[in-house]
Subunit: 358 residues, 2 copies
DNA sequence: CTGAAAGCGCTTACAG
DNA sequence: CTGAAAGCGCTTACAG
């Protein structure tokens, strides 16, 4: 490995001068700079990040991206957007895939293992606990979150309650009253902000419409395809059946569509389905969904990270919460509530706003 | 940041002893070790990776994973498998998402930017060019490839020609003769090994069956959903139409299914479709496909990387090519060739092995 | 514009 | 079992 000393010897100047020349610092003669550069290229010189880091106060030019599941479309897409922006600015990305592993989470968010390893952190899709926030803040780690909001740190996200409201109101307008929810109900371990907010939006919207809540209509879907499928199976076995389902993610919606198909139900004649994301496959399933800009969330978050790491202008706002817009995309999986058919009248018929029979 | 010096002062021993105690080296008294450890915990000590790396010969405990597109299921899944194995062994993962960017590729594979940054490299899904191989080898970089095979480095992959053969023979057995191919034909820029091998397998299998090649039946699908869709559109506009399509990836197959549906064709009555991967959504589409173990390829590759970095046993095999098994999964998108219907006889009817009309 | 020297936080022979 | 010292490859005041 050729080092700065080799270049110094080769060009007959000191290592200090080589260092300055290489980094484009002023106060180096053009001639010297040229010779140093030339030698660097010729000898294939690459600075040692370790030495650079050590000598210049621990900068690593690396940021950690922490995600729950790389394999899920949302996370992979956020990574893609963030990585691109960071790479353009010369930062490397260290990937931490928590994969639902509590031990991994503790190591990454609850120890200082990363303190000297990265300059900043991008946490995607999980809401850090107060202790984690406290811990990381104490270490002076710059952090940006995507999909969750913590007061202390900048965040990029969509309004998940509004997302749910948008979807549910769409169903209400179509006359549905018996609307089920498939999301994540037991997230004790991962403390995800998103599932909670969407469930809340669902419940609040129904309540505002004067519809009584029915716990039977809230199902665990785990935010996965399989989870959605089995939730769909359980849901469609209910009697009376719901006429519509709001799924907190497109992947779960795909699962519900599958369950419906297996049971021989027509969509949307017998069952309306709405998802969230506008997943790359949503159009394929002709799925009505609430679109959120995912790549853009990754990009924006990366920019926030860069800003956080940049020499702070004195009056710069430190914390900053960005909320990106979402949009209802109506496709073929939602339609008017079925005409009062065989379904026997079930629980909670009161308060239906329109005159439509449930 | 507390350093080794703080611990030395705190415990009244030298930094050398602290260093030994911390790393569990022998020749440290139990008592000393205990006191050092205790102080380390109490003061929240974390070693500086930079200092450690510099002092101990440039080890980084980091490996680079280079992929083409993080957002694609195959790549994300390989990453997931590899990351898990590497993390268990204390290695960090630096992610490089090439994203079809030639400049990025050059920087990662064609410069020594990574030389001192990672201990090894895992290259997923792209066939390094001879120059790239030469370049990285020259730097002494340990490399393992997934999905491509280079003589010099260990690799983990499936037999892509066999994969194609399996799929096409399945179609042949169902009586199909006019079988199209959707894959990647123009990969000059990315030099992917996989698309080429699958195309070769397709052509060879047809030739072995005595079927004349029809260039019109080979379409560019770009290995994406959209690519598959538009390839499907073009394909189904042909006359006579093919009765079956072999898609080199499930994602393209999904696209073809979509095109078929839009055109009002029944699958498999009017058109049979086979994919490759057994993508997590394949079952949803009831897609017949050739399954490959993806997570496992990531895991295995990571193990090879670890082996490569481990102190080499003298007679250890340096290079080692693993080929994982694949399996035809027959679902509902393939069926017998349609009875000779309206289709006008087209080109190349000779050589049909069975008496079945094309 | 350039150089000598100290220092970043560790590890590692070498002595003892 | 323990310590003093050199060294890893850079950067950074400080002089000149």
């Amino acid at each position: 490995m050729t080092s700065i000393h080799d270049l110094a010897r080769e060009t007959g100047v000191s290592t200090a001068t080589v260092s300055r020349a290489l980094r484009g610092l002023p106060r180096v003669s053009e001639d010297t700079r040229r010779r140093v550069m030339e030698a660097a290229v010729r000898l294939g010189y690459v600075p040692s990040p370790h030495a650079v880091g050590l000598a210049s106060g621990g900068q690593t030019r690396t940021v950690a991206i922490v995600v729950l599941f790389v394999t899920r479309w949302f996370f992979a897409t956020v990574i893609s957007g963030a990585e691109q922006v960071l790479r353009e600015r010369g930062y490397d990305v260290l990937l931490y895939n928590l994969d639902d592993d509590q031990e991994a989470r503790r190591r990454v968010l609850g120890t200082h293992l990363l303190t000297k390893r990265v300059d900043a952190m991008l946490i995607v899709g999980l809401g850090p606990t107060p202790q984690e926030v406290h811990w990381l803040s104490n270490q002076g780690m710059p952090v940006v979150t995507v999909g969750a909001r913590v007061a202390q740190w900048p965040s990029v996200r969509v309004d998940d309650e509004l997302v749910a409201r948008t979807a549910v109101e769409h169903l209400l307008e179509l006359g549905h009253r018996r609307i089920a929810y498939v999301g994540m109900l037991n997230d004790a371990s991962l403390s995800l902000a998103t599932p909670r907010a969407r469930a809340r939006g669902y419940r609040d919207t129904l309540r505002d419409a004067g519809i009584e809540q029915d716990p039977d209509l809230e199902l665990e879907g785990g935010f996965t395809l399989e989870g959605g499928t089995s939730a769909g199976d359980r849901l469609l076995a209910l009697s009376p059946r719901p006429t519509a389902v709001f799924c907190a993610s497109d992947e779960m919606a795909f699962g519900v569509l599958r369950a419906a198909r297996r049971k021989g139900l027509r969509v949307p004649e017998d069952l309306s389905v709405v998802g969230v994301d506008d997943h790359e496959m949503a159009a394929l399933f002709d799925l009505t969904t609430v679109r959120q800009p995912v790549l853009e969330q990754g990009r924006l978050a990366a920019r926030h990270v860069l800003r956080l790491m940049a020499p702070q202008e004195s009056d710069e706002v430190v914390s900053d919460h960005v909320e990106l817009g979402t949009e209802l995309v109506v496709r073929g999986t939602t339609g008017p509530v079925p005409a009062p058919a065989s379904a026997s009248p079930g629980a909670g018929g009161e308060g239906a706003k329109a005159g439509v029979e449930r």
